[in-house]
């Protein structure tokens, strides 16, 4: 993509178009989030049995039940409960955890930075290695390096993350004793969980890079660049790779969303105190108010990240008219 395309794209009319698009997408995200919140609302309440028993646990005295019933507004009619619930979701007020007696959002926010750090470092690994492998494979299509990379990525991606994590712990923490097996505290603690978590995005980034590069090589602008006598290396980096980035960025964005919301297993394996592990702890403790809040939170994050990805995609692809 040449600089002039960028400038033309970012300026004037298309910028207004972009804002219109962003606002349109934001408005469209609202019903999705309402729908997800509704699904969870009814999951908790449609279940056989009293939601208070579900929320508070089985062994609770009648007085406590009555108090909770009033506290959660469960003595009100269901539509009123639903409206109150939706209002609180939009104010990010997910209630009070029954386990810790702290507001759910406070608990989530205390864990979210850890999930962010883990996602960022995993994606950094995935992008660095994935891009390199993809470009390397595309330069030698059909060759031994290409085939090795293809086989590696398809096998690597099939590894269950919990098993990969345990293998990493066994090798690096138990046998070599060079990296901590779990917990948090130093940059070293970040290495194994990031490695484990990066394996799926790494494989996909490598594959999409390879296929996009191969496609870019066959396009006229690349051939023209070579014909103009631009050094091959520059042509590959500035023409083929830059064009491929449109596809690659989409994959990167998609996985950023998935990792932010779905690092549940990795966080559990490595005792990483993130949002995913909080979800599992809360399920184990039958703290359903917390579970409900975390799931809605993850959904909101996931929807917003996907929205940002779509916007970036439109921003960097000059073919997409806003």
């Amino acid at each position: 993509m040449s600089r002039s395309t960028w400038q033309r794209h970012i300026s004037g009319d298309s910028l207004t178009g972009l804002w219109v698009y962003v606002i349109k997408r934001l408005i469209l995200a609202v019903p999705t989030i309402i729908g997800a919140a509704t699904l969870i609302f009814f999951l908790v309440r449609v279940l056989p049995g009293d939601p208070v028993h579900l929320l508070a646990g089985e062994q609770t005295s009648p007085e406590v039940i009555a108090r909770l019933r009033a506290e959660f507004g469960l003595d009100k009619p269901i539509y009123e409960q639903y409206l109150l619930y939706l209002r609180s979701v939009f104010m990010l007020d997910f209630g009070i955890s029954y386990r810790t007696y702290t507001p759910v959002i406070v608990e989530i926010m205390s864990r979210f930075p850890n999930t962010l750090i883990l996602t960022a470092s995993s994606m950094a690994i995935a992008i660095a290695i994935g891009l390199s492998l993809g470009v390397l494979a595309s330069l030698r299509v059909g060759g031994i390096v290409d085939r090795a990379i293809l086989v590696f990525t398809s096998i690597y991606v099939s590894m269950p993350v919990f098993w990969l994590g345990l293998i990493l712990i066994y090798i690096f923490s138990i046998n070599l004793r060079i990296l901590p097996a779990g917990g948090i505290g130093s940059p070293a603690h970040l290495v194994l969980p990031s490695l484990a978590l990066s394996h799926t995005p790494l494989s996909y980034i490598a594959r999409i890079t390879r296929s996009s590069m191969i496609e870019a090589f066959s396009q006229d602008h690349f051939r023209f660049a070579i014909a103009r006598g631009i050094p091959r290396r520059n042509a590959i980096l500035n023409h083929a790779l830059r064009n491929s980035m449109i596809n690659i960025v989409t994959v990167i964005g998609y996985f950023t969303g998935v990792l932010l919301g779905g690092a549940v297993v990795t966080e559990t394996v490595f005792a990483w105190p993130g949002v995913g592990r909080l979800l599992i702890e809360s399920i184990a403790a039958r703290d359903y108010i917390m579970v409900q809040g975390i799931v809605i939170f993850i959904t909101i994050v996931f929807v917003l990240v996907n929205l940002v990805v779509d916007i970036i995609y439109r921003l960097i692809d000059p073919r997409v008219r806003l």
Partner: protein
């Protein structure tokens, strides 16, 4: 579905990697199915005198922390992991074919409504949706199938809808319509058979995804619970013994891994063979191809 698809399925046997993967899956499935014949040990029988023994002639994979035969448990575990995953995908397939076909065939408001519901389901990462459903509706085998089936269904619906959209506008469907046949007849006799080339690879790829989710749920303690042997929950039980008895983790993990690799190889191969347009779909844009690949491997990343 007589000629072209069957013919393409036959080509399958010429691709060696698919043949190997298929044989391995069949072998694992048969061994799990015939677990009580193959292994003479009861997978539940506790024998504390012989706990945590390394692999031996008597116990080919050794014994676990309660002295139970690991080989036996791994075989029986396959019944749960594989059968639950396959059932979950069968459910997702049922939902996908019905809902996806309705959505793609009728279009308009039906399509709009259905796709907004799919949007909502897709607002959850697959594993989160499965965890949430399992946490609320329970972790009995049948509820797990429902939870994972629903969690896997959005991809199926999207892929099938897209395929139906492509078929719907073909002239011969118009012709059948003009001949006065009803929608049900057209859908079952003409639409669905023509999108089998999409459905079959997608379902195969998503079995790999479902295995991962079922095992992850077991591993997290939300799925099949001990003492029932399931590959994921066996790993969860064995976690504490990682330092001294890594063989406890080797076999169940390996089984999950091999099964997923095999289903992915078969699914990818099926797609390549059955769908001549794979490459064109890739060019149609990453989002589109992501949707297609998702079931294979993107749909699962706990």
């Amino acid at each position: 579905m007589k000629s072209p698809i069957l013919a393409r399925l036959l080509i399958l046997t010429r691709k060696r990697s698919i043949l190997v993967a298929l044989s391995i899956i069949i072998a694992i499935a048969l061994m799990s199915g015939a677990a009580d014949i193959i292994s003479k040990h009861d997978p539940y029988r506790i024998d504390l005198a012989n706990k945590l023994t390394p692999p031996s002639a008597e116990h080919p994979m050794g014994t676990d922390q309660l002295g139970r035969d690991l080989f036996s448990r791994t075989l029986y575990g396959g019944r749960y992991t594989l059968l639950l995953s396959a059932s979950a995908i069968a459910l997702a397939l049922l939902i996908g074919v019905i809902v996806g076909t309705l959505s793609g065939y009728y279009g308009g408001w039906v399509d709009m409504g259905i796709q907004r519901v799919v949007d909502i389901l897709m607002a959850f990462p697959t594993i989160i949706l499965a965890i949430t459903l399992a946490a609320f509706i329970g972790s009995r085998p049948e509820t797990l199938v429902v939870a994972v089936g629903i969690a896997e269904s959005p991809f199926m619906i999207r892929v099938i809808r897209a395929a139906v959209l492509g078929v719907r506008s073909l002239p011969y469907i118009e012709a059948v319509k003009l001949m006065g046949y009803g929608d049900l007849y057209i859908i079952t006799r003409h639409v669905v058979p023509n999108i089998l080339y999409v459905i079959i690879p997608q379902a195969t790829l998503q079995i790999g995804s479902a295995i991962l989710v079922i095992a992850a749920l077991g591993f997290l303690g939300i799925g099949i619970r001990p003492p029932t042997p399931e590959w994921g929950s066996m790993l969860n039980e064995a976690r504490t013994y990682l330092m001294d008895y890594p063989h406890l983790l080797l076999f169940p993990g390996l089984m999950i891994f091999i099964s997923i690799v095999c289903f992915n190889i078969i699914g990818e191969g099926l797609r390549e063979i059955m769908d001549p347009r794979t490459r064109m779909m890739f060019r149609a844009g990453v989002r589109g191809s992501l949707g297609l690949q998702r079931g294979g491997s993107i749909g699962r990343h706990p």
